[in-house]
Symmetry: C2
Amino acid sequence: MKNRMLIVLSMLLLSGAACLAQGPSAASDAKPSSLNLPGQRYPQVDSQRRATFQLRAPDATTVKIHLVDDEYDMVKGANGVWSFTSEPMDVGFHYYWFVLDGASVTDPASKTFFGNNRLSGGIEVPSPDEDFYHFKDVPHGVVSERWYFSKSANAGRRVFVYTPPDYDTNTTARYPVLYLRHGGGEDETGWSVQGYMSFIMDNLIAEKKARPMIIVMDSGAGGMGGMRGMGGMGGGSNAMVDELLPMIDSTYRTIADRDHRGMAGLSLGGTQTFQTTQANLDKFAWIAAFSSPFQFPDVKTGYNGLMADPEAFAKQVKLFYLSMGENEVRWGGTRPFHQELEAAGIEHVYYESPGTSHEWQTWRRSLYDLAPRLFQPEPEEQE
Amino acid sequence: MKNRMLIVLSMLLLSGAACLAQGPSAASDAKPSSLNLPGQRYPQVDSQRRATFQLRAPDATTVKIHLVDDEYDMVKGANGVWSFTSEPMDVGFHYYWFVLDGASVTDPASKTFFGNNRLSGGIEVPSPDEDFYHFKDVPHGVVSERWYFSKSANAGRRVFVYTPPDYDTNTTARYPVLYLRHGGGEDETGWSVQGYMSFIMDNLIAEKKARPMIIVMDSGAGGMGGMRGMGGMGGGSNAMVDELLPMIDSTYRTIADRDHRGMAGLSLGGTQTFQTTQANLDKFAWIAAFSSPFQFPDVKTGYNGLMADPEAFAKQVKLFYLSMGENEVRWGGTRPFHQELEAAGIEHVYYESPGTSHEWQTWRRSLYDLAPRLFQPEPEEQE
């Protein structure tokens, strides 16, 4: 009887504690996010993938957190520190910010990331079984910030260029080029910062799983470079093809033909990829779109009618690659498009990222899955 | 009489308006700061170099702005927008953040910059007579983000490396190297972001005023790279000399001797420069410190007693360069040190940046003044 009382009492106390915490509470194994600024203990992520955020704002009346696509109330605790613990999150990178007495501000404890047309905080939820995007002790390429004069903008434009580990030592080698686009509301920093693209490529190249290549990351907006928001739907296509592409080919040791040039993009960047490559099939033979939200090529008229002839399309387009997160709903058009392509007998590769949504882990995995397929000889061309 | 009444009335109205504005008000020629995020109208700077900041925080009780070294109250206006206009500011870059109901947060309208051991907003006050640090239509070098494995940290470290415009095309040329340090509370991003070092170098090289050189920007803290705070006083010196320097010499086409290797730093980075070069005079022959706060070399014992012999010192140290802002007070030790050197007959170059203080415009000008003097033959060696 005494024992049963204790158990009931314990349960009441536990449920009370849970109530007081207003939502889930973090497990004691929580660790600081890898995206925190030096010395910052919060945000933290526990082994259940629950993230705990804190903000010291002693005089605030209300503090909310905008995390991924939703807003949640934070709770004021001792010393004027507000906190919130999330439900278990998907692995990978997520944007967040605070709404502090009506002002939308980033967490001073987090590095900042350009997304949603603003600078946001970021939290990184570790993925215990994956290290393909981690820094490893392998030969490293570099990501160069390059400014060039754009005639159409009559101003400087900024582009980031990944060159593989052997680029500087193997000074007579020439390389294929992938043009890689960020998503809507992001900018040319997205792939190297949120996407860890250089670690993904360094690791693949070290394992000889991907061919060394140059990767060009520009802004999908037409403007003057630097930090940019969401461009038009085909944003920056003309500037990319007319100005950036010749500059890259004259500046880097590229193999400057369509068989050694590809374009890929995520979300809106995938839509831009469809549009740019359809209009410039003489320049691009490798095409990939991750989680593209809309304006898929029409299987009857797409690529100037080339898709209506699956054999001709497969001959012209060396790789037509599509991917999305398994749990994507709002921007989930890629799966039905893939089914449409299958029904029409159009050769393509389709990948689904398990357990993820419209987010960077989907796109990191997509690049990891895509890169080994790029610029490889056709099976019959192989020795 | 009627006219006089009107004049008095106007004066009253004008003084009333000034009172309501609680401080200086911006001139109507104010323009958005070049460091604003896309589409952001504020902060703005007027022709009198007064900066106006705004923050929409409808439910806030108090909002202050921390600008440079001081804190000011912001005033709530219509629509819940708080604002503040500064007194005329020095030209160049200044850090700022808001204190919103007790929480210290960055302005969501500004790009962010690592300084004061945190991410801050930044405002750029144009300098009408100077464009040496602006983007121009000249050949451009690149700033590469390079990760490498550090044995002492047992982790990846990040370094930024500037290579000059002809580096990739002139593939047999070898280049001198300048190691360039940020200030305390800043990190390895400081010189290329706040300092515009690549535009300064591109412009100087285009005008043939500076010799093309490689510039290496690492973190002055010993840790694992990435974003870093203030290191120890000699922070990172050993890792720089023992690990970074050989990596640079084996990765880039450097001229790997002391006559073609220099080190410079600003503020705490200048102190680190003194300490590193004194301990490694076999590796560095070009030495520069901008606005260094403390621990100047002792003219009797500095550089292992070499300074006690001005002739020997001048022979060994190809350039000993010092600078500061004309208006520096708190960290103003460089001017008296320069006078001490003069009295002791120790050869050096001293530069004062007119009208500026302990801030980036001083350091941009210092780099612009220093770079043409670096890696030049002695007068008698010239043809």
